[in-house]
């Protein structure tokens, strides 16, 4: 067991944090950091990510041949921790970097790799994920959007919902039904400027601008838009979700948010109450458990172990965030009504932490069945 960062990793962290500090605008917290889905942050991410790429810090974990630095997953996580300390100036860029890129490396054609990987690695493209539909979230295989063969490729009809960042995205990684079987699903790379695509944003409890519906009305895509084999998209999805689900160092963001809440309570002279102090201290233990479990998952990514620890980590982080949300409501309730925007950001983004990218219940099922060997349940 070794819990220390190496000198090299420490230096890497310093390099990332000093880049962020010298690059972000001085009024970052007041005028930009309003949540990853907001216009302010999404537009800024289009300036920040190319600069980050230029510095060699956007995809360090990718192989050199695709524009990376042959780095390891630790670098990806150190980077993510530092970014989340600043409320994620990369915006929705993680989609391309964390899982669409890796999925294309594994399943993409040479032409797809040439076209997309360099673009993702340069920070000049925003992706969205077109998986969920009104009747197909947890039960993703129930999706109804269809892609029918044409002479030159496919014609797509249907709709997606919840699609994060879609209204500002350049591309969508789309799942559509291509055959009669339940799992006859294929993956497509579709430009958001394609004729027949309509994006309808809708408001919600999460930050403004995050949620969208995307309609596909006879959208034509060429054969070359298909990723992997036709109707064999399930393998691609599984690979992609694997990468997607341990992307976000929530514990780090939670600790930072807790610091902010405590600073407010101190300023208001309310942090001498031992009940408040103990409540804050209790959350730290849960954050630290989530942190270590995340490090464990990174370690396992390197050693190639296949465990349910990613699910264990997700739940532990969710528990810490849920406790923190409750703390904010009890002790800094003004955060949802004109108070500190950083606290509001945290709260509103975490509302969906137990839903998006695999629900809480799904994680529990996976731990019970894959981890504890319990039978498929009732």
């Amino acid at each position: 067991m070794e819990f220390a960062w190496s000198n090299e990793q420490d230096a890497y962290r310093r390099r990332v944090s000093s880049f962020i500090e010298r690059t972000l605008p001085k009024d970052w917290w007041t005028n930009y950091a309003h949540g990853i889905g907001t216009d302010a942050q999404l537009f800024y991410s289009k300036i920040f990510c190319p600069a980050l790429a230029e510095e060699g810090l956007l995809v360090p974990q990718w192989p050199k041949e695709y524009g990376g630095a042959d780095g390891n997953p630790w670098q990806q996580f150190i980077l993510a921790e530092e970014m989340w300390s600043w409320n994620e100036p990369r915006g929705g860029q993680y989609m391309g970097v964390n899982w669409i890129g890796p999925a294309l490396m594994r399943y993409g054609t040479q032409a797809q790799k040439d076209e997309h990987l360099t673009r993702i690695a340069s920070g000049n493209v925003t992706w969205s994920q077109g998986f969920s539909e009104p009747q197909a979230g947890t039960d993703l295989a129930a999706l109804k959007t269809r892609a029918e063969r044409t002479n030159s490729g496919f014609k797509i009809n249907g709709m997606k919902i919840w699609t994060s960042y879609a209204r500002r995205a350049d591309w969508i990684f789309l799942l559509a039904r291509t055959g009669p079987e339940r799992k006859s699903i294929s993956c497509f790379l579709v430009p958001m400027t394609s004729p027949g695509i309509k994006v309808v944003p809708f408001p919600g409890l999460v930050e403004e601008g995050h949620l969208n519906e995307v309609y596909f009305d006879d959208v034509e895509v060429p054969e070359s838009a298909l990723v992997g084999e036709e109707s064999k998209g399930w393998d691609v999805i599984r690979h992609a979700l694997n990468y997607e689900r341990v992307g976000l160092p929530r514990y780090h963001w939670a600790r930072r948010t807790l610091d902010t809440a405590v600073a407010q309570l101190k300023k208001e002279g309310r942090f001498s109450d031992p009940i408040v102090r103990a409540a804050a201290g209790r959350i730290v233990a849960k954050c630290e458990a989530a942190r270590l479990l995340t490090y464990l998952v990174v370690h396992q990514r390197i050693t190639g172990e296949d465990t349910v620890d990613p699910n264990v980590q997700r739940l532990t982080a969710a528990e810490a965030c849920l406790d923190l949300m409750s703390f904010l409501m009890e002790y800094t309730p003004d955060c949802l009504a004109g108070g500190d925007p950083m606290l509001e950001n945290f709260y509103r983004s975490q509302i969906a932490a137990t839903i998006a990218a695999g629900t809480y219940e799904l994680q529990l099922d996976l731990i019970a069945q894959r981890g504890l060997g319990l039978p498929r349940g009732h």
């Binding site: 101190k266 804050a280 060997g373």
Partner: protein, 311 residues
Amino acid sequence: MHLDFTEDQKALLASLEAIVEDHLAPPTEDRRGRYHYSQSLDAKLVSNGFLDAIRTPGMGAVEAAMVIEEVSRSPSVVEVSASALVAPHLLDEALPRPIVLASGDLSKAQRFLPVAKTVIYNAGDKVLVFAVDQANVETIDSIYAYPMGRFKTLPNLASARVIGGPDAVAKLHQWWRVALAAECAGAMKSAVDFVVDYTKQRKLFNTTIASFQAVQHRLAHAHRIARGLHFLVMKAAWSGDAFDANQAASFAQQHIQQLVFDLHQFNGGMGVTNENLLHFWTYRFRALQPEVGGANAAALETADLLWGSAA
């Protein structure tokens, strides 16, 4: 960062497992007792040097915590925490054992007192050590799964050896927390395994109770808690940092209620009998739940460390 045991640690674990494996059920005559103090496990740990891991070249607090965790997997109990991890951080020489860790009101029941030879006592501003006169110990019948006892008359602390002032108290608190968290981690792992096995066997409504999602989800949580705790314990032992010790104890103590409730619940009526092994683990967590001030004290100290005073 390398979150796996080294080859040496794996070897240590394998030899420990080989010993603990022989103690996964108390002898028949003690199965219905409140607890079973295993003299044979104790003797094997001593003769194989496991309790001295921390003083062995190439080993340290991580190995001592591993010993506590692994031994705590047994339903039988042995005094390991104080001997293997806490006392060595306070004193160079080994103390006569078993050792009681005590704090506050000495008229109350103490874990291990009926079998103990030494007490390490937090007297508020100093740490004292004194020998136990067994003639002055009254055994208490308690459902806690430790030998529990109290002094018939309060020991004379004026003649106790002082081993340090406030620094020693802080050190005692810190390593006591790591030790209690390690005990919980080991015992939780066994308790979860035990209940998972039971739910796979118990058939109702033509199926096993393990197939009910309401059961599965709570067991998944139990597993997640034990897993998270294991790494908090290892980190705290590795770093020797009071902050990490607080997190390990706080996490353990915060979750004890949920674990004890869920694990007993799935054993139904059997879970409240002494015949069922579960209480040998769960009523150890219960005894550990309030130690060193419990989850809130660890949390308050965390607040002091992170955010300083209230101003």
